[in-house]
C-alpha cells in the first residue's frame, strides 16, 4: 500500500530545517522524502498544502481508566482521543484497577490496544511499587519483559526515600527510568488549590508550591547520587523549574515534562469553583506560569505531556473538596501549545521537539521523519481558527476547563504506520 503526502511544510527538527515537500509511504514505512511535489504511481494522495507535517506526537503521560473505570475512559476511546489530538503514541499511567503492578494488566492493555484500538501506539508505564502503595517494589523486571517502558507510582510519590533509592537502582538494572509524581503528601494533605492570594480569597484549603519543589530536589539529589536518570512529571512551579535547571547544569540526568494547562491557566481560574479546574498538581500562580514558559524555551522542560485524566461528569459534579483531580488533555493540547508559539514564547520547531521528546526520554522508536523509518505523522493546520467544544471530544469524558475557548491551530490528520487514524475536514 502506497500513500503520498504532497506539498506539506515538513517540520522535522531532529533532521534539519523545514521545507515544503512530499513524503512517500510504502507499507507503513517512509520510503522517500523530497522537496516540492512528487509523482508516485498508484499511491493514495493526501494534499498537505498549507499544513505542517511533523513527526507523530507522543504523549508520555495519560490516564486511560482501563481496567477498572472504563466508564471514564477505556483503551479504545482513549486511543481515539489521542488520534484526534495528533498523538501517534501514548504512555499510560499505572493507576488502573487492578493497577499495572502485574504482567496480567500489562498484557491485557497491550492486547486490547492491538486488537480493538485504532492503531495509535500504546506503551504502558508500570507501577514502581506493589499496588502503588509505596511500600515494596513491583516486579519491575517482569513488567519490563511484558512491555513496560518506564515505572512510576503516578498519582502518588514514593514518599519513602529508601524505597525510592532501591527502585531507581533496581529499575536501572533493566534499563527503565523512574517517572516521579513529585508531591510531599504531608504538605499537600487536604489541599484543594495552590496556596496564594487566590486560595486566601476563595477560602479553599491550600497546597503550598514547596510541596512539589521539595520532592523535585530530592529526586534530583537521588539521581545525582546514583548517577541514574530520573524524569519529573507535570512540573508546575517556578521553584521546581529552578531546581531542575540547577541539576541539569551539574550534569545530572534529569528530564522534565509539563502540561498545557499549567501554561494556559493560573490558580485564579479556580474562583469559579468549577471542579474541572481541580487538578493535581494544582493550577499555579502567574509567576509559575511565566517560569514554565521560559523553561520550555531554554530547555529546562524537555517535553509536553497532557496528564490526560478523564473523569465522568457525575464524579466531577460534586462539592469542590470531594471532586477527583484531573482534566482531559489529549484533544486540546496542540491548540493550547500553539498559543505559546503564536505569543512568541517558543518556535514551531521547539513545539515539535516538545511534543516528540518523550520518544528519546523513554527509548521508544519515533520522533523523526526519515527514509526507512516508521511513517508516524501528524498534519497540523496552524492557522485554523475554531472553538473548543467538549461535546465533540472522542474521549469518553468531558472534564475540561477549556470548553468554549477560541483557539488557532488544529490537528488535521494523524497517521500511524502509514494508516490514517484520524482526519478532520474543514
Amino acid at each position: 500500500m502506497k500513500t503520498l503526502i504532497r506539498n506539506g511544510k515538513i517540520v522535522n527538527p531532529r533532521a534539519g530545517k523545514s521545507f515544503v515537500g512530499s513524503i512517500l509511504v510504502e507499507d507503513g514505512v517512509v520510503t522517500k522524502i523530497a522537496a516540492g511535489d512528487m509523482n508516485a504511481a498508484g499511491a493514495e494522495a493526501i494534499d498537505a498544502s498549507g499544513l505542517s507535517v511533523v513527526p507523530g506526537l507522543i504523549d508520555m503521560h495519560v490516564h486511560f481508566r482501563d481496567p477498572g473505570f472504563e466508564y471514564k475512559e477505556d483503551i479504545v476511546s482513549g486511543l481515539e482521543a489521542a488520534a484526534a489530538g495528533g498523538f501517534t503514541a501514548v504512555c499510560t499511567m499505572p493507576n488502573t484497577s487492578p493497577s499495572c503492578d502485574n504482567i496480567g494488566t500489562i498484557e491485557y492493555q497491550l492486547k486490547k490496544a492491538r486488537t480493538e484500538g485504532n492503531g495509535v501506539r500504546l506503551f504502558p508505564v508500570a507501577a514502581a511499587s506493589k499496588g502503588l502503595k509505596g511500600e515494596t517494589m513491583a516486579p519491575i523486571g517482569e513488567l519490563k519483559e511484558a512491555g513496560a517502558v518506564a515505572i512510576s507510582d503516578d498519582g502518588k510519590p514514593i514518599s519513602d526515600s529508601s524505597l525510592l533509592l532501591r527502585v531507581m537502582q533496581y529499575a536501572a538494572t533493566f534499563g527503565l527510568t523512574y517517572l516521579s509524581h513529585a508531591e510531599d503528601l504531608s504538605l499537600a494533605k487536604g489541599g484543594q488549590m495552590n496556596e496564594s492570594y487566590f486560595s486566601t480569597l476563595y477560602g479553599l484549603p491550600p497546597i503550598p508550591s514547596v510541596a512539589e519543589s521539595i520532592v523535585v530536589a530530592r529526586e534530583c539529589l537521588m539521581a545525582q547520587y546514583l548517577g541514574l536518570p530520573v524524569h519529573i512529571c507535570h512540573v508546575s512551579t517556578k521553584a521546581a523549574v529552578d531546581t531542575i535547571a540547577h541539576f541539569k547544569k551539574l550534569g545530572v540526568k534529569v528530564t522534565a515534562e509539563t502540561a498545557p494547562h499549567y501554561l494556559t491557566l493560573t490558580d485564579e481560574a479556580v474562583g469559579s469553583y468549577d471542579t474541572n479546574t481541580k487538578v493535581n498538581p494544582p493550577l499555579r500562580s502567574e509567576d509559575d506560569r511565566k517560569a514554565l514558559l521560559a523553561a520550555l524555551k531554554d530547555g529546562t522542560i524537555d517535553a509536553i505531556a497532557t496528564d490526560h485524566a478523564p473523569h465522568h461528569e457525575r464524579d466531577k459534579n460534586v462539592e469542590f473538596n470531594t471532586a477527583p483531580s484531573g482534566m482531559v488533555g489529549l484533544e486540546t493540547a496542540v491548540p493550547l501549545l500553539l498559543k505559546t508559539v503564536q505569543d512568541g514564547h517558543i518556535s514551531f520547531d521547539r513545539f515539535v521537539e516538545l511534543f516528540t521528546a518523550g520518544y528519546g526520554i523513554l527509548g521508544i522508536e519515533g520522533g523523526v521523519i526519515a527514509e526507512g523509518k516508521r511513517a508516524d505523522l501528524t498534519l497540523i493546520a496552524p492557522d485554523y481558527q475554531w472553538t473548543i467544544d467538549k461535546n465533540m471530544f472522542l474521549s469518553r469524558s468531558r472534564n475540561t476547563p477549556f470548553h468554549g475557548f477560541h483557539v488557532t491551530g488544529a490537528v488535521f490528520r494523524t497517521i500511524v504506520g502509514g494508516k490514517t487514524v484520524f482526519s478532520r475536514t474543514y
Binding site: Y197, T200, G203, V318, F320
Partner: protein
C-alpha cells in the same frame, strides 16, 4: 440581586442599602407582635449541612417573622447520608419549586454550585473558609449602630484568619465601606498574601488593638489541625487572649465583638465577654433584623 453568595461581589451602595433596610426590621423585632405578612406564600428551605445553632435559628426566626413558609433539612435526615449527591438533592429540591435556599456547607463554593443548579435564590449561610455574608452584615450593622459610621474606623480582627469565613466577609465589607482593618494572630493562622485584601497584618495583638474602635475576636477552631496551628490552648491564651491588658490599648469607647461560639478563657476572658463593652448579644439580636432585610430584598422587593 438574586442571590447573596458573598460580600466580595457586593458594592458599597448595595451593602449600605441592606443595612438601611435592616433598620425598619429591627423596629418590628421590638414590637409585641413580631410578625409581618411580607413574605406570605414564599417558601424558604434552610439546608444546614454543618452544625449550627445561632445562624440556623436566626434565619428561621427571620423567615417566620416575615411569614415565609420555612422548611429545615438537616444532613442526618437528608438523602445525602444515603449516598445521593448534593447535585441530585438540589435537583429534587428544585422540583418542589422553593423560592429560596439558605445553605450552610463545610466546602467553600458549594452555595455557588447550587446557585447554578437551582432556579431559586440562594443565600450563603457560611461556606467552608470562604464567606459568611450575613454575619458580616450583622457585624457591620452592630458597628454602625454603636459608632454611627462605617468609615474611618480602626477595626482589629484577632485570631484564626486562615479558617475563618467570618474574617473574609468582614474584611471585604469593612474595607469597602472605608475602614481600616488590622489582623493579628500567630503567623500559622494568617492566610497567604492576605494583605492583598487591603488589610494590615501584624503578629502582635497589642499593635492591632492600639487605638482600635472595634476589637473583633475570632473563634479558635480546635477541631482543625490542633497541634499544628498553635501548641495548645494554654499557650494560645497566654499570647493572644483578649484580656484587660490587651483591651487597654484600644480606644476607651471601643466595642468588643465575637461571632460565637466563643471559647471563654482561650480567645476572650469571661468578664470581657460579659462586660459592658461587649456587644456580642446585640450582634445576635441584630442578626435577625439583618437576615429579614436580606430575605426581603431577595424575595419580596417587587411585592411592595
Amino acid at each position: 440581586m438574586k442571590h447573596l453568595l458573598g460580600i466580595e461581589n457586593l458594592n458599597r451602595d448595595q451593602i449600605l442599602h441592606i443595612l438601611e433596610t435592616a433598620v425598619s426590621f429591627e423596629e418590628i423585632n421590638q414590637r409585641q407582635i413580631k410578625k409581618v405578612p411580607t413574605l406570605k406564600g414564599i417558601s424558604v428551605i434552610n439546608f444546614f449541612a454543618e452544625p449550627s445553632t445561632r445562624t440556623r435559628m436566626s434565619f428561621e426566626v427571620a423567615e417566620k417573622r416575615l411569614s415565609a413558609d420555612t422548611y429545615n433539612i438537616a444532613v442526618s435526615g437528608s438523602a445525602i447520608t444515603k449516598g445521593e449527591t448534593l447535585a441530585d438533592t438540589a435537583l429534587n429540591l428544585q422540583a418542589m419549586s422553593p423560592d429560596c435556599l439558605v445553605i450552610r456547607h463545610a466546602v467553600s463554593g458549594t452555595p455557588h454550585m447550587l446557585a447554578q443548579i437551582m432556579d431559586c435564590s440562594v443565600v450563603n449561610a457560611g461556606d467552608g473558609f470562604h464567606e459568611h455574608p450575613t454575619q458580616a452584615l450583622l457585624d457591620a450593622y452592630t458597628i454602625q449602630k454603636k459608632k454611627k459610621r462605617l468609615d474611618g474606623l480602626k477595626i482589629a480582627l484577632l485570631g484564626d484568619i486562615s479558617h475563618s469565613r467570618v474574617a473574609r466577609s468582614n474584611i471585604h465589607l469593612l474595607t469597602k465601606t472605608g475602614s481600616q482593618v488590622v489582623l493579628a494572630g500567630p503567623a500559622t493562622m494568617m492566610p497567604r498574601d492576605v494583605e492583598k485584601l487591603g488589610v494590615t497584618v501584624t503578629n502582635d495583638p497589642k499593635e492591632a488593638v492600639k487605638d482600635a474602635d472595634v476589637v473583633m475576636m475570632l473563634r479558635i477552631q480546635e477541631e482543625r489541625e490542633s497541634g499544628l496551628m498553635y501548641p495548645d490552648r494554654r499557650e494560645y491564651a497566654k499570647f493572644f487572649c483578649l484580656d484587660d491588658k490587651l483591651l487597654a490599648h484600644a480606644r476607651p469607647d471601643a466595642i468588643v465583638m465575637h461571632p460565637g461560639p466563643a471559647n471563654r478563657g482561650v480567645e476572650i476572658e469571661d468578664h470581657i465577654m460579659d462586660g459592658d463593652r461587649s456587644v456580642i448579644l446585640e450582634q445576635v439580636a441584630n442578626g435577625v433584623a439583618v437576615r429579614m432585610a436580606v430575605l426581603y430584598l431577595l424575595l419580596g422587593g417587587s411585592n411592595s
